[in-house]
Symmetry: C2
């Protein structure tokens, strides 16, 4: 029976590993950010802008899952520190997008390089095959998480109708 | 050459997966907590007390990596909600430990069951072998993270001398 193989014990073990690993990653990320003039939510916003390109505050708020008012505050502070700027759409002047600046990109690159250096040390004793499997399995898990969120968002929309 | 096999590309890919997965896990955890009268840091403290048993506020503060003053605030609020109580050591009355109460244990159990149910849905399409590998690789990674932290703590102590 295919559905019996994922025992409650295994689920519990994986949940615990993920919970603790996520907590350590969060803590490590905060330690790295201490050296930079940005907070954790500011980093998250900046990282998405670097990754996905310009976004309106509304789009950014949905992406980082924070209220519009909080997102506006974050963008204000990033703009004050010259890490982003607000750019008006050429064609539709009512639309304003947040654009990451060189200084913002530079911080993101440095922070991610430090996170990679940390991970590299952790993975030093992993074989080629293990690292390969880890990447594949995390990719699959991440994909399932995204599927789940999309499904949830759809259900939420239906409920609201 | 053993050290060449972990290419920068692979490190970058795994770092990105872990960063995004950790963010989703954090967000999901927060969503689950919305149904309970505790905040995220309160949950983290409660979870360690459930896991490791009674601790002094100092020990708890080190475990959850928050300042003593913040940890004291968290314990105060948990005590007010009857999720923990402070217990004086029988032998050495100067020592006060935080003890999780039934109501606190109950919340932890429920929250973790919800997190497990979420994970179970995500892992539905994973084969027995994949789930097995995921557990092993996460366990190894978590172990390396703990080793790294202990090494860092030692280096920190030496620096202070």
């Amino acid at each position: 029976m295919v559905h019996d193989i994922l025992t409650a014990e295994r689920i519990a073990a994986i949940e615990k590993e993920l919970r603790h690993i996520a907590a350590i990653i969060k803590q490590k990320g905060r330690e790295i950010l201490l050296q930079y003039p940005i907070t954790a939510p500011q980093f998250v916003a900046l990282q998405w802008l670097a990754d996905k390109g310009d976004m309106t505050t509304g789009e950014l708020s949905q992406t980082i899952r924070l209220a519009i008012s909080t997102t506006t505050d974050i963008v204000d502070r990033l703009e004050k520190n010259e890490l982003v700027k607000r750019v008006r759409d050429e064609k539709d002047r009512r639309i304003v997008r947040v654009h990451i600046l060189k200084k913002g990109e530079h911080i993101i690159t440095e922070v991610i390089e430090k996170r990679q250096a940390y991970l590299k040390e952790l993975l030093e004793t992993f074989s080629h095959q293990e690292a390969d499997q880890l990447q594949l399995l995390l990719h699959k898990l991440h994909g399932k998480m995204n599927d789940y969120e999309q499904l949830e968002a759809k259900t939420e929309k239906k409920k609201r109708r």
